[in-house]
Amino acid sequence: MQRRLCFVLGKGGVGKSAVSAALGLAAARAGRRALLCEVAGSDRASALFGAGDVDHERPVELAPGLFGIAIDVDHSTERYLASQLRVRPLVELLVHSKAFHHFTAAAPGLAELVTLGAIWSLAVELRPGGERPVWDFVVVDCPATGHGVALLETASNIRALAAQGPISEQSERIEQVIKHPAATGVALVARPDELPVSEAVDAAAALRRRDLPVALAVMNAMTPQRFRDDEAGALTAASLGAGGASAAAAAAALAHLERQAVEAVHLEHLEHGTGLPVLQLPLLVRQEFDLDAVQDLADAAASGLRSLGQ
């Protein structure tokens, strides 16, 4: 996670937004200027910071050193056209033309390319006058697995469709950055259940086929290791022998132990299936998933990454 650009991918419901926010916050606390990017109309990650109005014009500070921005397709398309055509009336001509909108609807992946292009330009942007980048860490909260993989594959797809021309050159420049393992890393997030884990395993293979640098797997919402197998006997006796709340506590402990065992299997599947180091993040039991929760998750991410040597 020392790379500058990090894409966070995973099945719907695994907590990608929370993990993206935590990775961003952990980087910011380590003194890196961090940017959290949201795409496809999502605002879940920035909502965790209570920031109601993250816009697509300029980054908003979410926490000290951590900024947020929403990538909007229409806005980014206009910006992209402006950078390519340089003549304002031509840009106006296109964005107001029905034909152009039909073209973008029909050509697969154009919306994704524009999104990816906007992320790319944020990642390569340099500070005025200097050679240092504006952002030390750009973390992208991607759409659910299938759409997320499509987003990352889009530059290659467009190059296959448009053999030459500016759009093909643009795709090539984007590819050079997002395929460079020193610059970019993809984090695949799962939760300890069968389907999220097998999606992460499949996504790792799909991304590797495209030479995209998968760097890290994240197992989110892990039940803490609290009981040992050799405690099951005593707990079973207590769940049968005690009354009321004592029996309930013993039964809860047994269920917890069973869950530990189930999760250990999923964890092993994630580790072996992806061949990646796995960052384990704890299940946070609380009434609201709020800023406190993100901070706890960022603490867990920072110490987990340290022990993984990342």
């Binding site: 073209f103 759409p143 707990l235």
Partner: protein, 373 residues
């Protein structure tokens, strides 16, 4: 809910945010309908591998397969009807749709061979969502099934699913681009002026995309020429079917803020657009353990008697776990209150949190049992 709200509906559509257990609930509903004696089929999008195996979906291909009576017996279930399942193959469905609508075999080949079409493979906005609806339409025409349950694809937004037929029709229509790619023939001054404007747009576009990509897209849209009516008619039929009393929509959600927000937006939208929404199912709800604090001495003593090495410590950890379980139950209870208050109506059904997501018929039957009451 299955026995009352859904029993007489031909089609049940399960929708909701990603990760809430839509596939499991869809399969459980189909099992429930089969238990009522119907020949029921569930259209799954992407089942967990072991659930897919349990449903007999190990083989590729998107034809419905019957879950064998033997495996139902083995799971200890009584099912008077039939349970069938299929896994959606969006590309194969799209290919059939093209084949059905293409005026000539040459037109069909021209589309199937087109580079843009081949890159689509479900990637175009709404294609997978639409193909799920199209597959439903095929099963309705097939006529073999008394009950059809549709799981909906994971999308960025659960609402995408409803817009898919319109979007795909607009996309196939490609009127404006067709106007541009065909030479103007006569017409009035306005039409010629429009064409001139179009030519300017095209030449600007070409500066961005390169000539070849523009040509491919134009060719692709051109190939659909003459198929638009067929597509539009089909989309219209699907819309009508889904709005009729033969259909029922079930919104699935979990006790978390994100999915709940999506579920509410979806319910509102379904109501507004006159789709037959039957209600909301809350999945993975933690039940409340007995009230009261565990008696530390009692628990410690029993654990010590049973040979625990550190009974104090173990008792404390067990008590902590019970507290967490209570917190979870309280959280889920509050989420349920908030959901029903926002809906202004009771839930259609509720499924308890299970230790692991069901991946066999036996596990599925537990979900079905929760949904029958």
């Amino acid at each position: 809910m299955i026995d009352s709200a859904l029993a007489d509906r031909w089609i049940v559509v399960c929708c909701g945010a990603g990760g809430v257990g839509k596939t499991t609930v869809s399969a459980a509903v189909a099992l429930g309908l089969a238990k009522l004696g119907h020949r029921a089929v569930v259209v799954t999008i992407d089942p967990a591998r072991r659930l897919g195996s349990a449903l007999g979906l190990d083989h590729l291909g998107d034809e419905p397969r019957r879950v064998s009576p033997e495996s139902i017996d083995d799971a200890g279930l009584t099912v008077p009807g039939e349970l069938w399942a299929l896994q959606l193959d969006a590309k194969a469905t799209f290919d059939r749709l093209v084949a059905r609508n293409a005026p000539t075999p040459q037109d069909r080949e021209r589309i199937l061979e087109n580079r843009i079409y081949r890159h689509l493979s479900g990637a175009v906005a709404g294609a997978q969502e639409y193909m799920a609806v199209e597959r439903l339409h095929e099963l309705v025409e097939d006529g073999r099934f008394e009950r059809i349950v549709l799981d909906t694809p994971p999308s960025r937004n659960a609402l995408d699913f409803l817009e898919a037929p319109e979007r795909i029709t607009r996309f196939i229509e490609g009127k404006a681009l067709r106007l541009l790619t065909q030479p103007a023939t006569g017409g009035n001054i306005a039409a010629r002026a429009l064409h001139m404007g179009g030519a300017a747009v095209l030449s600007v576009l070409e500066r961005i995309t390169g000539a070849q990509m523009l040509r491919d897209v134009a060719d692709f849209l051109g190939a659909f020429d003459g198929m638009y009516d067929g597509f539009a008619e089909r989309a219209g039929e699907v819309r009508e079917l889904l709005r009729s009393d033969d259909a029922a929509f079930v919104v699935v959600t979990a006790p978390d803020p994100g999915p709940t927000e999506e579920a509410l937006a979806l319910a509102e939208r379904l109501g507004k657009e006159a789709y037959p929404l039957q209600g909301v199912v809350l999945n993975r709800v933690h039940g409340a353990p007995p009230v009261g604090d565990p008696a530390p001495h009692e628990l410690r003593a029993i654990l010590a008697d049973a040979g625990a090495r550190h009974p104090d410590d173990l008792a404390a950890r067990a008590a902590e776990t019970l507290d967490e379980l209570r917190a979870l139950a309280q959280h889920d209870g509050q989420a349920r209150e908030a959901l029903t208050a926002a809906l202004g109506s009771p839930l259609l059904g509720q499924v308890p949190a299970l230790p692991d997501e069901p991946v066999d018929l036996h596990g599925l039957a537990r979900v079905t049992a929760a949904l029958r009451t």
